[in-house]
Amino acid sequence: MASGLLRSFDNQPMPGRDGYRVPLRRFFDVQRNAAWGYLIDNCKVDGRAEGLHVLYNYVTCPEAFEGKDKGGIGLHDMGVLMERNHEDNLAWLRANGQKGYRDWNELHGKHKGETLVIASCGPSLTHELPVLYRRRKEFRLMCVNRSLRPFMDPDAKPDYYYFVERRGIPDWVNEVEWPTGAAKSPFDLKGIAMIGTPQCDPRITRLFEPDRCYWGYTELGAMGHVPECANLTKYDVKAATTIGNAPFIAWKMGFSKLILVGCDFALDCQIAQHPEDAKKQIVEPTRMYFDRDWHQSHYARDPGWVTRMMPTVGAYNRAVMSEPILTGHASYFSAVLDFAHHEGGMWCANASSRGNLAFNNMPLDAALDHQTAKEPVECASST
């Protein structure tokens, strides 16, 4: 919710780049050192004033916005990027007969008593694919980011796709050329409901059906389980990882069982002998397919970081490689699951076959066969 201490200094609608009038309102927040940001309609199609969300003009990772020659996206201002995405998304919706953003609150409670499998982008996802394909009719499926790729089959398409990135990567939603990786042709995304924020990358959102796109904010703080988190995420939709928000979405939708696959919070790697120094070993990542953005942002810029990481779990000639950022995410995510499982009443299990996430770990078949005893706690009717 917008703070009462917000002071608008520009309440005039701004022209959208597609010729539409887009209501972007800039403001100061006196409580937060006069940080400036944008007021965004929070998907209320009736346009009521309450429930405005705030996006601050924070640049949390400036290196990602450097020039394209440095691997960035060439935009130095995240606020500008979010503004443009919002303009483009709204213009596209209106051009397709929508009044505005369709509120994702419409999905709340829609799947009471059902099972949801969330496929994340860890390299172990391929291990679970045979079972997921064999038992696909037994559960709802939600994909995030690149995990959409393995389910682009008419009989295996996910029910939901969730992403929050303001700059997505084309191969999430496109067939690509080999070996350049250039986008070739868009996936057939008919029938898949997208959940995202108005600031999501329009190059991704526009490939979905406009009337199957649901918009809104999925901040974990709304679950109320981690006060610090609530403060952190209340205003900044990007404060948590994509997968970190997914259990909250599942809980809001009323699912009674949540199973996670591909939630590794780790990379596959192998250890090889250094060719010149007998005392040294080399740790090399072996699975980058689902982790290309990680690969680009970390490994490509600093190849040495791989050799500094410690393999935490050995398996044959394959090991799982972790590092502090991933371990931190895993720890945080297990806390989220703990809340959803014990407080929210949504039975949660991690069926990822390897990785660093430790929460009710079990094989996928066993998780799908598990009979939940109790109904989840009734969730709130709206955010």
Binding site: P130, Y133, P150, M152, E175, E177, W178, P179, Y289
Partner: protein, 338 residues
């Protein structure tokens, strides 16, 4: 049964040819995954490439995964699909000398195949499989000598030769992978050049290299005589293509390879013009001296032989029967563990 073939390279189009024949002639489904059809300057037909999203449903639903040539069952992400569903079958298929292959699948005790050429003598536990040539497809060029002559316009007799690489065999160890691979280019070309000079205005030697597979086949179809390989004692796809096109084809097949071949084909003979490095010149002069009808009769006989003994339908059915009889990945892995 759903079969998925995996290789890193195009394997001269052999994997795609087998996979598509299985789809066309059996009740089984088959897909082939590799890095596409291009290698060096050549281009072969291909099915799925590694970056296609279609590889995931194919591998997830596969009943059998066949690892060709230079990839093994430990390679990711393929290993995940086997570990995730041990009821799948895991097999190997080798198209080359062991030095040029990743023998991991064979060494781990999984059933494996090799092509019924000289490789059968080197992969002792492999099941020999005939190399599929898709001469049954509609786009396979029809041999018509008169039309070919019209198209060429010069009235010359064409002798076709398609070396894989211009490598010299002189520095290679006899029997090594490179020795087999070089196919006697440095020995064969001088003979062909001599024939070209000795029959001015009558004979033209056509060398096919570095072009798309379909263009290469169309070019070969315009030839009157083809030369495969006369040095190592084995035949190659070039010979099979020549026979299927109905063109007299010169090749050197050693007694050992001949034994492998006739056993795999269920035949008593192999209708090539047997020639060695020493006799190629003589055999070519003989072929050039034959009248058109005789050459055509030879070619028609070889095409008939291919239909009887080397039809993709029969090869696909034989291959699938072997796959169906293979133990599962889990059974072999448990046995190896015990």
């Amino acid at each position: 049964m759903r079969i998925v073939h995996v290789a890193k390279t195009p394997v001269a189009g052999a994997m795609e040819a087998l996979s598509s024949a299985i789809r066309d002639y059996t009740e089984h489904d088959s897909r082939a995954i590799n890095s596409g059809g291009k290698v060096n300057n050549l281009e072969f037909p291909h099915d799925l490439v590694f970056s296609d999203s279609g590889i995931f449903p194919a591998l997830a639903r596969a009943d059998a995964i066949v690892f060709h040539q230079n990839v093994n069952h430990q390679s990711q992400p393929f290993r995940d699909f086997l570990d995730g569903d041990p009821s799948k079958k895991c097999l190997g298929f080798y198209h080359s000398h062991p030095d040029a292959c990743d023998p991991g699948v064979a060494q781990a005790g999984f059933p494996h195949f090799c092509i019924a050429q000289y490789q059968s003598l080197l992969w002792r536990n492999a099941i020999p499989i005939r190399n599929v040539i898709r001469f049954d497809r509609d786009d396979w060029p029809k041999r018509d000598a008169e039309r070919a002559r019209e198209r060429k316009g010069d009235g010359k007799l064409w002798i076709g030769y398609a070396p894989t690489f211009r490598q010299s065999q002189k520095d290679q160890t006899p029997g090594s992978s490179q020795w087999h691979h070089s196919k006697g280019y440095d020995v064969t070309m001088p003979i062909l050049e001599k024939i070209d000079k000795d029959f001015p205005g009558l004979v033209e030697v056509m060398v096919f290299e570095g072009i798309r597979y379909d263009s290469c086949i169309k070019g070969k179809a315009l030839c009157d005589i083809l030369v495969d390989e006369v040095v190592t004692g084995s035949y190659h796809r070039n010979t099979l293509e020549g026979l299927a096109l109905g063109i007299p084809t010169a090749c050197n097949v050693s007694p050992e390879v001949h034994g492998v071949l006739v056993k795999a084909a269920g035949a008593n003979d192999f209708p090539v013009v047997h020639a060695t490095a020493e006799t190629l010149d003589e055999k070519l002069r003989w072929l050039v001296g034959l009248d058109e009808k005789t050459r055509r009769r030879m070619g028609n006989g070889s095409h008939d032989w291919m239909c009887r003994h080397w039809h993709p339908r029969d090869i696909a059915r034989e291959f699938c029967a072997h796959v169906a009889a293979a133990p599962s990945y889990g059974e072999v892995a448990a046995k190896a563990g015990a």
